[in-house]
Symmetry: C2
Amino acid sequence: MVVASTNAIPFNRAYLTGAESALMETVLNGGLLEGDGPFTARASALLTEMIGAVATLLTTSCTHALELSALVLDLKPGDEVIMPSFTFPSTANAYALRGAVPVFVDCRPDTLNLDERRIEAAITSRTRAIAPVHYAGVGCDMDAIGAIAQRHGLAIVEDNAHGLGGYYRGRPLGSFGALATQSFHSTKNAHCGEGGALVVNRADLVERAEYIREKGTNRTQYYRGVVERYRWVDIGSSYLPSELLAAFLTAQLEHFGQIQARRQEVWAAYHSRLADWAAEAGVIQPTVPDECVHPAHIYYLLLPDLGTRQSFLRHLRDRGIQATFHYQPLHDAPAGLRYGRTGPGGCPVTERIADQLVRLPIYTGLGDDDLDQIIDGITSFRP
Amino acid sequence: MVVASTNAIPFNRAYLTGAESALMETVLNGGLLEGDGPFTARASALLTEMIGAVATLLTTSCTHALELSALVLDLKPGDEVIMPSFTFPSTANAYALRGAVPVFVDCRPDTLNLDERRIEAAITSRTRAIAPVHYAGVGCDMDAIGAIAQRHGLAIVEDNAHGLGGYYRGRPLGSFGALATQSFHSTKNAHCGEGGALVVNRADLVERAEYIREKGTNRTQYYRGVVERYRWVDIGSSYLPSELLAAFLTAQLEHFGQIQARRQEVWAAYHSRLADWAAEAGVIQPTVPDECVHPAHIYYLLLPDLGTRQSFLRHLRDRGIQATFHYQPLHDAPAGLRYGRTGPGGCPVTERIADQLVRLPIYTGLGDDDLDQIIDGITSFRP
Ligand SMILES: Cc1ncc(COP(=O)(O)O)c(/C=N/[C@@H]2[C@H](O)[C@@H](O)[C@@H](OP(=O)(O)OP(=O)(O)OC[C@H]3O[C@@H](n4cc(C)c(=O)[nH]c4=O)C[C@@H]3O)O[C@@H]2C)c1O
Ligand SMILES: Cc1ncc(COP(=O)(O)O)c(/C=N/[C@@H]2[C@H](O)[C@@H](O)[C@@H](OP(=O)(O)OP(=O)(O)OC[C@H]3O[C@@H](n4cc(C)c(=O)[nH]c4=O)C[C@@H]3O)O[C@@H]2C)c1O
């Protein structure tokens, strides 16, 4: 998160619904502060219902939900996972940490999502999974990706860090993969500072996910009275967030409608009020396919080239507006070259749009005056 | 944490200093809720000072600090790490996750710590590190372990989950290893529900630890203005706890003296008031070597055998006292057999004491009446 200098409009401002403090006080009064208490159950149940999942396990971050997915799928060194190059390093790290190879595929020039037409050429006998990222919460082509996964016997892990509240053909994002991951980092629509969740859509994966999340122990069975003592039964980690964060997240999820209402307004205002300027200036606005409903997580623009993008950012900064670029390609990053492999045809679209992209301020607390100031600032720019 | 039934004295009760809410409100008002804000800096600085470290990096748990240690030391598949079998599964998991082999060595019958006389026989050409656990915060024989590590060129990672505030020959626990790990799980003396820290005692390891904790990116350098954009430069994860938890932990660390005072009283009361009964009943009380100052994290008793231990636990439960056993050996656990190896001579002491051990309630909020009731309950037991 960029910190605002005086009077500047920040790129992001973590939103408080007002209900967080009271729920955190409930935790303090109850005295159970570690993970897996009643608020963890409550937040998980809300997510399970929103997404229509089999189960949802809160985690300490989306990064850790991705790591948990790699463990649940039992990925081995040399296994390959297909993913976009245009994503956050965590998507790749989670699999690289298991010795698996991230295989970077280019994105579509319209949605900036994993290009479904380029996936099959990247599949080898080592491919085990596809990890599509719903960029800005706009759904990937899950019909096509689902068909490819089925044809080749691959698991899908949706990196749904951006997509809570989004839909593809009327079905919630996060419900398509065997597994999906959510982020509740403070930059996300609903947040708890740092947090995440693993969404499980296959009943046969729930128990193993629980073991791994509980330090590889059968502690859950111990507390259900099934075993007399718990033991180290499987490889694992510790992904339980404190009940304090689960309470905070519960407040956010219970007010998700209120959070979303304003974000949608801001997104729509950018989209309509910048249209004429964008057309004139050769700037591209986001594409949202008809089959997608998105949660207004990001509003971005694609400037003609890197030079123009940089002068645009400076132009906005001079007007007190903190806009910013986004992901740097992974396929040609130092760690991408070392741990990953690039699919046939490379990632030319990713390389181009990473240099062109600008994200505008979007958050629930963004006032109308600020919005006007941003739009005036933008439309006064001529490439 | 065991939840108390009505009127029962719980095994543990998470302590609040009273300063937590106000500091968490400061975070809410400041609007920066993700990791690595001012409270993360404040809590880290307090820990660095308490331990006399080069740097301290807050993490989401001690489990994750251990995982971070394995990444910082760049452990490879087949590398071996010597550790006690009598520890929590996280100590072993962290290395097994990297493909390294936990090598289980027995514990000393007096302190229940890694038996320094048995370490050298377990060293092979693949050994890379020793991970001693200061059980109950009573220091391992760091003179002997340090000498062995030096002789064989091994790194030491102290699993100091129990030992904040403990000393060995006047030097703080956590300051002996190249790395050490702390836990702030709600069962620990100072806590934030779920949390931990990596203590770094070697300056050359700090930068790599920072990269790995920041998702394998050079984001820290970006924020220092050293690079124009941050990229994926190394393997990594995300170990930043939310500022909310860092604020909570700050409150606890700033009142550590107050937390410790009562714990020490409780520990001392058990030790003196149970002495006669223990001698008569053939029950063994904890041994604290002269060179060790411990932080009163655990008070345990060793009963003659498993049968007696179980009737002792029942006896106490019938009197509303929630005492409990502790670690189950790792060397012969299902995952221990699969991922680990046992050092020469096996772990007979671990097997025995795991069956004999009982932990008594110990926490800052334990009242004198409860303490009397516990001691009466204990001394009314005859094996
Ligand atoms: C050296 C060392 N290194 C690293 C870490 C990682 O720290 P992080 O948590 O920060 O990552 C630890 C962790 N401490 C943990 C956890 O912190 C915390 O979860 C808690 O565990 P419990 O919630 O279970 O609580 P309990 O009250 O200790 O026991 C409750 C019941 O469980 C039964 N039991 C218990 C054990 C242990 C076992 O093997 N088998 C078993 O059947 C005994 C009781 O009736 O305490 C643990 C010891 C550690 O100690
Ligand atoms: C798909 C997907 N999958 C998984 C996860 C894991 O989620 P968890 O966090 O829950 O584990 C994410 C994560 N989102 C992250 C982080 O959440 C959060 O840290 C934050 O990152 P920043 O704090 O940096 O904030 P920012 O304001 O986005 O950018 C700030 C400045 O940094 C410059 N920048 C930025 C990037 C990205 C980059 O590569 N290089 C780069 O030079 C642009 C700006 O000027 O936002 C990230 C996108 C994700 O997106």
